[in-house]
């Protein structure tokens, strides 16, 4: 019949894998925001299903982010630390993507 143990292993592995990658990236964004470098990424095409934001709205969001960054209570050193931390988090999720590619290509792990 069905191999339930294999299924549970798959469930746990994918849960852990996805959680780690998403948490690392989210933490990276959080740290960038703390460090005063809030990323404002306008959609490539303004068709976002819910927040249909226009270029003007995107510009306003960028201005808001700058304003928030100016009012940042952190010292420069703290900000720098946060930004460095943020990029390391992105690096971590980048490594996870590389590991995914490693898993996809059988030549790398011998079938």
């Amino acid at each position: 019949m069905i191999d339930w143990i294999a299924f549970v292993i798959v469930l746990v592995a994918s849960l852990v894998g996805a959680s780690v990658v998403v948490s690392a990236y989210a933490l990276g964004l959080r740290l960038l925001t703390i460090g005063g470098r809030t990323p404002v990424v306008a959609p490539a095409e303004f068709t976002d299903a819910i927040t249909v934001i226009s270029p003007e709205e995107a510009a306003r969001a960028a201005k808001r982010a700058q304003k928030a960054a100016r009012k940042n209570p952190l010292t420069d050193a703290q900000k720098r630390l946060a930004v460095i931390g943020g990029y390391s988090c992105f690096g971590l999720s980048g490594l996870a993507v590389l590991y995914g590619i490693y898993l996809i290509v059988p030549a790398f792990h011998g079938g």
Binding site: M1, I2, D3, A6, F7, I9, V10, L11, A13, S14, L15, G17, A18, S19, V21, V22, S23, Y25, A26, L27, G28, L29, R30, L32, T33, T38, P39, V40, V41, A42, P43, A44, E45, F46, T47, D48, A49, I50, T51, V52, A61, R64, A65, A68, S93, G94, V97, G100, I101, L103, I104, V105, P106, A107, G111
Partner: protein
């Protein structure tokens, strides 16, 4: 029986199946980045096509298991004939076209298995089918795949929002998830390429083995790999816009953080399942992820009616593709005339569905515009502001 004619027909049909597989499954990787605006629709399908092309060359492991294991040669004296493969492919393609017309994401592998099972039933009778194998390899995974992906995506979405949530109303930087979406969806597309083009390679190799053109147990020939890779890439580039629409906007409204969580969950679940020996369908995992991420974001709604339609499609996949496959097999086993009748019939069905689809065309130009237009027309209530938890 003219073996070469039937072999050519099977290869042509198999490549067409590969093509439908490609445009059917573009949505798995690219529906969410298109919906959140992380990638332009055309760029997204081009990226997916290139990654599918590369993916097809990376591995031939799956092809070997299909050509070696799907139908047991010799064990009970059962030999699959090219006619039956031909009939099975007609069943699979018909079902893929119908679900595409209805905009339903459904598993192309299940359609292929369904068609082959139907054809084998006609060719060899009920004893050719192992009910236990069908249950454990196809039906139960179909239930478990969306469930697993849903749980994973729900958790990942909760985490993404919890970590980036700000109670002071300052910008939260969640836009930044758009960058990440490019990578996570690319990973899904690459994983898809390594898996799905293999199925067609396996079918063609199986055919070549069954007519004795290739030794038993050998892998796919190089020209088979190349043509399959090109067919799936072309199909992917065509983009099954109807299915992208369903998966990207029909199930739930996807935002960047959600989309990233859903794609990462899809990638993680597929990679885990293909490496830890519990194969799950990409389409079913991707649909489950989108629903899970919809449940995980506060203020978002999952449209269960659409989810229900998709579910009904999945239940019908095996019997429907099997039924058409069986019918085609009845005709095909009548000899060369039967095969030709089948080929013409398949061409008529494919052409008919294509013409039917032109009545309300969905393409990269109008894929999301309806939603976007209604969004501009109606003042949309923003997400409820998170309240700081009261600590006593």
């Amino acid at each position: 029986m003219d073996l070469t004619l039937i072999v050519v027909l099977v290869i042509a049909l198999a490549l067409f199946f590969d093509f439908t597989n490609g445009f059917h499954d573009t949505a798995n990787a690219m529906a969410t980045p298109i919906a959140t605006g992380a990638l332009r629709p055309k760029v997204a399908v081009a990226l997916a096509a290139v990654l599918n092309l590369i993916g097809a060359f990376l591995s031939t492991e799956v092809a070997k298991t299909i050509s070696g294991g799907l139908i047991k040669e010799g064990e009970n004296g059962i030999f699959i004939t090219p006619e039956l493969i031909f009939a099975g492919l007609i069943g699979a393609i018909t079902w893929n076209m119908v679900t595409w017309l209805l905009g339903l994401p459904s598993s192309s592998s299940h359609a292929l298995f369904g068609g082959l099972i139907g054809a084998a039933l006609v060719g060899f009778g009920i004893q050719a089918i192992d009910g236990g194998v069908v249950m454990s390899k196809i039906i139960l995974p179909a239930l478990l795949a969306p469930l697993t992906a849903g749980v994973v995506a729900f958790t990942a979405t909760k985490l993404a929002y919890a970590i980036t949530r700000r109670y002071d109303g300052r910008p939260d930087g969640r836009d930044g998830f758009r960058y990440a979406q490019v990578f996570s969806s690319s990973l899904v597309a690459l994983a898809h390429g390594t898996n799905d083009a293999q199925k067609t390679m396996g079918v063609i190799t199986l055919t070549l083995i069954s007519v004795g053109a290739q030794p038993v147990g050998s892998g796919p020939e190089f020209w088979v790999i190349v043509t399959c890779a090109i067919a799936i890439a072309l199909g992917t580039y065509m983009g099954g816009w109807r299915i992208i629409k369903t998966l990207g906007t029909g199930l739930t409204d996807v935002k960047p953080a959600q989309g990233f969580a859903a794609e990462t969950s899809t990638a993680a679940t597929i990679l885990a399942s293909s490496h830890l020996g519990f194969a799950l369908s990409t389409t079913q995992v991707a649909s489950g992820s989108v629903i899970g991420s919809g449940l995980g974001r506060r203020g978002s709604k999952v449209r269960w009616r659409t989810a229900g339609r998709i579910g009904i499609g999945w239940i019908l996949t095996l019997p429907a593709a099997g039924g058409v496959g069986a019918l085609a097999a009845v005709v095909a086993t009548m000899g060369i005339a039967g095969v030709l009748i089948d080929a013409v019939g398949a061409a008529v069905i494919i052409g008919g569905i294509f013409l039917w689809s032109r009545r309300d065309e969905v393409s990269h130009r109008n894929i999301l515009s309806e939603v976007a237009d209604s969004g501009r027309a109606v003042k949309i209530k923003r997400n409820p502001k998170p309240k700081r938890k009261v600590t006593s």
